[in-house]
Amino acid sequence: MYRWGGCSKLAELTYIGTSPPRPDGPAKASGLSQYADDVAVAGLWFGETVRSPVAHGRLRSVGWRRAAPPGAVLVTAADLPGPNGVQLIDDGWPILAEGTVEHVGQAVALVAAPSRRAAVLAAAEVEVDIEELPPVFDLSEARRQPSLYELELGLGDPEAVLDQAETVVEGEYRTGHQEHIYIECQGMTARWHPSGPRVEVSGSMQCPYYVHKSMVHAFGLPEEAVRVRADAIGGGFGGKEDYPSLIAIHAALLARAVERPVRIVYDRQQDIIGTTKRHPATMRYRSAVDAEGRLLALDVLVELDGGAFTTLSKVVLSRALLHAAGPYRCPEVRVRGRVLRTHTAPNGAFRGFGAPQVAFGIERHMDAIGRRLGIDPLTLRQRNALVPGDRLPTGQIVDESTSALACLESVARRTDFVTRWTEYQAAQTETNGTPQRGLGLSLYFHGAGFTGNGERRMNSPASARLTPEGRIAVLSAMTDMGQGAVIVFRQIAGEAAGVTFDDLEFPEPDTNEVPNSGPTVASRTTMIVGQLVARAVREVSAQVADWWGEQQPAASPYTVKDGRVVGQDGRSTPFAAVARSYLEVHDALEVTVRHQPAPGPVFDETTYQGPAYPTYAWGADIAEVEVDPDTLAVRPLRMAVAAEVGRAIHPRLCIGQIEGGTLQAVGWGLLEEIKLDQGRYLNDRLATYIIPTAMDAPDLDVELLEAAFPDGPFGAKGIGELPMDGGAPAVVAAIENATGLVVDEIPATPERLFAAQMRERSDD
């Protein structure tokens, strides 16, 4: 169920605000889409990864236990042609272990064989000799070692205020690992060619140019010698931002060694053991508040568990710190953070990228303030919520589209929040064996696009060009992992150029064909690259129309509308026909545009002051849960969600993102937990790593609100990650409202609730 609140299809727009079917829908629904493991390749061999069985140790040797199995080939770090590091932000992540192993599951060697079964059996014939060293798992121990990264930002002097304040609230909040569980596990196929681009990899990835860059680095090849293509992608959630670079290099190493195409596709167990996860976080909040609960000062320390290698931890930390104070006004703020190193699989990109962790921290902390002062969650948030013109801890002044209060109003109205929250609170003590109900509220915001000067530095291009058939080909490196870029880009391009979907072509992401318009991450695809697409196609369409006007001056100027070039006299010609005529007299028409940052202040990466994001999307959730008083099983019954998205290009898909992200957040808050014993995975399969099914999903009542962002295409903001921020704190708050149990660590499993109940009873 959903409603479409503040937004409406603008009268003058054709495609924006409508929900046309996605072009890849039938193939996906009928199983015809070709995912990484479906693509037929002649003479294909299969690769397997030999992984470290221990968390930390000195790698003494790797080799065949007995004679090499017939036909099988082994690759180790000794066979690397270039530097042993995956090029991401830095290159500290080894391609294959060398000297030491740093986590269970680290890739130590690779094996290729003519069949998958032969490869599995051959991998079991590889002996890895490791002298174990003491591992570090615990953050308190990790703290004594040098951090991977440290950062600090703030405003004013919170310490002085905290020292003087009458009411100081302190709390520690913890969140755990989360595994992406994209439906399609990681997979990549590589082959080497005698001529043309030397090496070609294709598979499941969000960012073809990230893979390209790391391949160039690992093999020491010129850029044009590497070709990267994305196949149909069965989900990503950030998990296919960093890791595909590693598995692509692995596949290419094997393909080089056996001189045949080689495919590596993980099964679910390999995928859970080997790949990156959401960073676990420990967050300490200390705040000074006045009697009405207004924030006077805030001091936050965020510690992320980076795992063994750095991957993207640096930017995850910076996004976490920039969101740590939440969507609240506070005059004096200090936020410090560090990424600690442990002997577990490296943690990396995951929808939300550090923000969901701190959203849990600040929202639980706001509830702690309310609990202390006896103020209900809604009133407390209304008093503190940012309004246009307020300052963030970076000094950034939030813009006119700041919609925190509108989001609160939307969810509170639909749930009659304060009345029912108060009733449920009063009923906490009536334990007559019947299920207890509770409501929980969260308010959140999410910086859209890259953090800081990322976009400015990348200066991403996108192109549009006329094809011989008279269509406009739109060239970008953006991938569709299910989120709907395929249709949203058609809507943006059709609207901007005045043409129909039939007048448009979208070549598959292939580094030989499309420019590097950056990675499909950070909620930037629609907002940043969508705007580039709009500008490029608008320019192509205008040039065609202008040229037509020169040919037919009587009815000039011409405009392009609904796929026709229309003159002042109302007479029109199909765009494709005009475009073909244009190409009869011109060689080509291709326009490339680059990202133009909005004028105004620039973010300072040393002081962390200035606009860290061009704008923010806003959200509020109210969750209603039912808790079984005996088993403490929690059932999320329903959730009201309000999301302010700038403009919903495709409302149905936009709501799909909000619903899916909210459920993913609820799963993280209630169920999902990576259990490790000495760094070994206890639950490396879907029978034991529990994600919500359709039956665990609450009824979601999503209301979209719109407050246009002038620099986004038709006002759109990035929203892919926003819904990941609010679900967990809302359900945990609802559990508290139902039972009185205060849980500051997720997942809030029945076992954890039971432990809290026992603590509480022994306190009585």
Binding site: T631, K675, T693, M695
Partner: protein
């Protein structure tokens, strides 16, 4: 892929003589191994085609359920619905619909997971397990009371080459109520953290007959004999309390990947209490 053969007798002979050959019915336990495990697994012999393992039928004082009966078939069968509502309840909570369409009662019991959902139900219904094996050119049957079937962690009374043919469930006497509760990690597709079955009857507000069994709280599914005897004769509320605390005392669950010992123990007690309390005070 699973192999097949012409008769059950031949199947039993092959199972007794060919090492590495295992029976398979629905395959929902066997086929979900990862490709890495599968690459090393032995061969499977499909038994689902044999009439000796199929069907549900009332025979005298009991109901026969063939080992190859799926959980979907159990839920649909009129006689099972009438006589064994706890078995229907368990069947409807195994996995999800797709699993219920393939998973069998025989496979559930032979797999002998301490978390198997139908197992505590068969225990309180005092089923008899009917086994078959080849003796020369004859198929011989052996009957084992359910209480003696599970002999240790994932160990059963099945001899090498012996298969489960089916189950005989005595018809419950008049007024015998049945209860089932599963505590899983989520609403569906969840393996039990605690699972409890009850068969019992009250008269005049007091517990007259009580059979309780639980899964996931010990190495095998267990009858909660102490809880049963602690409750019998007591007035319902007191019986529920007594059964709950006795159940906790007679079991020592463990910490594992799905739950903690402390949670399992406490929740076992609470669920037993709840189920006993839900009995009709006077079933006459």
């Amino acid at each position: 892929m699973a192999e097949r053969c012409g008769s059950l007798l031949e199947a039993c002979r092959r199972l007794a003589t060919e090492p590495g050959l295992r029976p398979i019915l629905g395959g929902t336990d066997l086929m979900v191994a990862s490709p890495h495990e599968r690459a090393r697994q032995g061969r499977w012999l499909d038994l689902s085609c044999f009439d000796e393992m199929r069907g549900i039928a009332e025979r005298g004082g009991s109901v026969w359920i063939g080992a190859a009966t799926t959980f979907t078939a159990l839920q649909a069968d009129a006689s099972i619905r009438r006589h064994f509502p706890a078995l229907v309840a368990a069947a409807s909570e195994v996995g999800g619909w797709q699993i219920q369409n393939r998973a069998t009662l025989g496979g559930n019991v032979a797999n002998a997971s301490p978390a198997g959902d139908s197992l505590p139900v068969l225990a309180v219904l005092e089923a008899v397990v009917v086994l078959g094996s080849a003796a020369g050119d004859r198929l011989v049957e052996r009957r084992v009371p359910y209480a003696g079937f599970h002999v240790g962690y994932r160990a059963t009374a099945l001899a090498p080459g012996e298969v489960i043919l089916g189950f005989e469930l005595p018809l419950p006497g008049p007024g015998l109520e049945q209860r089932f509760q599963k505590v899983g990690t989520r609403q569906a597709q969840a393996i039990s953290k605690v699972v409890v079955a009850l068969a019992g009857r009250c008269a005049g507000g007091r517990v007259q007959t009580l059979r309780l069994a639980a899964g996931s709280v010990a190495a095998t599914p267990v009858r909660l004999r102490q809880a049963e005897s602690a409750a019998v004769g007591l007035e319902l509320a007191a019986a529920a309390e007594a059964a709950g605390s006795a159940a906790r005392q007679e079991t020592t669950p463990i910490d594992d990947v799905r739950s903690t010992a402390a949670y399992r123990s406490a929740v076992l007690g609470r669920v037993v209490r709840r189920l006993v309390l839900s009995l009709t005070p006077d079933s006459e």
